[in-house]
Symmetry: C2
Subunit: 439 residues, 2 copies
């Protein structure tokens, strides 16, 4: 037994991780070098699905991050403040860290990685994005020889499940959400998922790795799926699109040898995706991350975005990676030779462009009083703000009101908003129930 683990948390992911590590037949032989030395929990009385020797389980989490025998601390308690504090203490004590905590990393990554680099340890986070999908490691290693220009992900299983069911069943958001909560696919308080915050945490992390700079989480724009209606899903379908909650990070500034941090657009919003796009067919609780770069072109990673087994797989892959370094570096002179492909040494923040400056296509739905010439008036007003239209379709009636759907060409977001402000004041316009972006 060579490498000692201190695991913080024995909830769903913690239990999955312990189960995987204890049952190592048929897995990488290096897992047999690992010893579950301590597991920190809130309560000793709770019944557990895993059998651990007496003395391993403790409620004293401090004692784990301070234990001089422990090589790797695995943080699986979730939440923010306490997790951050324990991670920083573990680092200060010279321990490598594995975490699944996207909320902490997206908010305190700069602090945590600075501390880790100073201490000469690694902080690994494969499980923080995309569940079991290996995407963090490829971004840090294989894909980094490319000039990445866009990372686009379906990174929240709950919202993808809801949108998929709305699409296939023609149901309303509220009904599907209620059912998803009953089935355990959505939390009792679904805010972090349906309002896009979880996806925003994740795209902040992916953007940081793909573009080699720090991301200020506060600057990540996020718009959730509460306002996506079955009506829009149905119109999108007729126009050849599906609606997905996409998390997008895109390089905006041209390449420059002097600046290491490009200006980015980093955002989360419901998006009309052409049915032929690789992300269009990612359904249910699955996640997928599409990476585009030069000279590679497009690669996509697809898999289960959550769940005990999938997340445990990612957590254990990080532990394995560290174990391989610890094993092969055993007889080396010092631990000061940090592997630049495992460490995270970004120094600068990437500037984030405000959404109003984005160039993007829009889908808008209008309810109009059925006056002749209303389409002409819409077109004229859009034209005034430089917004050119790809298609304008009068789709039907809702009671007395005619429904008109417009898809624009690529246009600056601010211009569309200006045009819509003016359109809203028109006599012929009853309301603008939907405005969605198009990829």
């Amino acid at each position: 037994m060579g490498i000692k683990l201190g695991i913080l948390g024995l909830g769903t992911v913690g239990t999955g991780t312990v189960q995987l590590l204890l049952d190592n037949v048929g897995r990488h032989s290096l897992l047999r070098e690992l010893e579950i030395w301590r597991v920190g929990v809130k309560s000793l009385d709770k019944p557990r699905e895993v059998d651990l020797p007496t003395g391993v389980i403790t409620t004293d989490l401090e004692s784990i991050v301070n234990d001089p025998q422990i090589d790797i601390v695995v943080e699986l308690i979730g939440g923010i403040d306490r997790a951050r504090e324990l991670i920083l203490k573990a680092i200060a004590n010279g321990k490598h860290v594995v975490t699944a905590n996207k909320a902490v990393i997206s908010r305190f990554g700069a602090e945590i990685f600075t501390a880790a680099n100073k201490a000469g340890v690694y902080v690994m986070l494969e499980a923080s994005v995309g569940g079991g999908i290996p995407v963090i490691q490829p971004l840090k290693q294989s894909l980094s020889v490319n000039r990445i220009h866009t990372v686009t992900g379906i990174v929240n299983g709950t919202t993808n499940y809801i949108l998929t069911r709305m699409q296939t069943e023609g149901s309303n958001f509220d009904d599907v959400l209620a059912d998803a909560q009953k089935l355990g696919y959505a939390e009792a308080d679904p805010t972090a998922d349906v309002d896009g915050w979880d996806a925003a945490d994740k795209i902040a992390i992916l953007a940081s790795l793909a573009f080699g700079g720090r991301i200020n989480r506060e600057e990540v724009f996020s718009e959730g799926i509460r306002q996506v209606s079955k009506t829009d899903i149905s119109y999108a379908d007729k126009l050849g699109f599906v609606i997905k909650l996409l998390a997008i990070a895109k390089r905006i500034s041209p390449l420059s040898p002097s600046s290491s941090c490009p200006t980015l657009s980093v955002r989360v919003h419901p998006t009309l995706v052409p049915k032929t796009h690789p992300l269009a067919s990612i359904n249910g609780v699955y996640n997928a991350i599409l990476v585009e770069g030069e000279p590679l072109g497009q690669v996509m990673f697809f898999g289960p975005g959550a769940g005990a087994g999938a997340t445990a797989s990612a957590v254990c892959s990080d532990i394995l990676n560290l174990a391989a370094r610890l094993t092969s570096a055993k007889s080396s002179s010092s631990s000061s030779n940090i592997d630049p492909l495992l460490a995270c040494s970004h120094q600068d923040y990437c500037p984030i462009a405000p959404v109003s400056e984005l160039i993007v296509r829009f889908y808008a739905r209008f309810l109009t009083k059925d006056q002749s010439g209303v389409i002409g008036k819409l077109g004229t007003c859009f034209g005034k703000y430089g917004v050119s239209l790809e298609s304008v379709v009068q789709t039907g009636f809702q009671g007395e009101l005619a429904e008109i759907v417009v898809v624009t060409h690529d246009v600056q977001e601010g211009k569309v908003k200006q045009a819509l402000d003016e359109i809203r004041t028109m006599e012929a316009i009853h309301s603008i129930p939907s405005l969605l972006r198009v990829i």
Copy 2:
């Protein structure tokens, strides 16, 4: 300038690799530590798309693998015997090797990795399967904490391009092949692609990494796509399938703590894939590899399977990985601490089950003389050999002959063959033009 590269070959992939390395703005900063020290070519007179300093290009390939200054040899000449010889010499001289050569690795991997382990060097092969898709590294690292049970890939772009066009255009194999050759998507001699040999090389490599044992390339079953007809593509479509050339490696034997090498089924053949399957929507020259394991579930990697840029991305990711090790190990005491996640230390061969023992579903198409009761006779004969049928459809007529399509339930391949041998002798049966497996 720290790390010196000797590149063998300056064809499509070699040129792409040199271009990527010379133009390193916006890529991983570690690439700036690399120096293209020598590039070996067949002829100095050929015009080149890359500008290299005088003295770098040489026709003396031996001098490269023997050059004491070179750290990493990048083998991109293709072919088998000469490539094998140069790789082995480079290893014997203590150089790390990067290769895109699936033919050499699938045939001589055992010899090459034994030599590499003895010499304490790494042989990296990301570019040998799936072009630019990072799949080798995830299989060696992240995914290896799982018990992999199946790896299924669309790993040959040429055949996927041909099948996709046959599907979308309703064209014949011969016509699409001729056009693909004209467009450069298929070689003048298309044998290695259309007969499944290239895919067999690749699945042998993937199987070895996924299941931790050596694979005897000779035992990999391969059936190509020459006999796939537009008629079958159209019937498959009606039954809810598309036809893909799949490369499949599957664990057959149950888990056992004592044996490190499970019995596998490793094979390549055209396959009916349900339209809802993740591989069904992989079209054109794209590749995808689906990995299934416990506790992960399914993950899929998708991207460009070939092309100068994509392959150069994979080659350079291997070079980057080695550079990171060389940089971080610089002040270490010795090079003898081989990283178990980068090395390939398989000792034993995985037993490969003969296809006749496989349990699989079949699709068969019969041309019958339109006698009443022929469906009953077919069913009776299949039943005699224990083959149960999922569906039997009389699809139409070809001249005087009635066409009947059958899909079986899971059944041992040998039993189906026995039943078909008997059916062929029936008076009512004119011929059996198609027999395909179903996933």
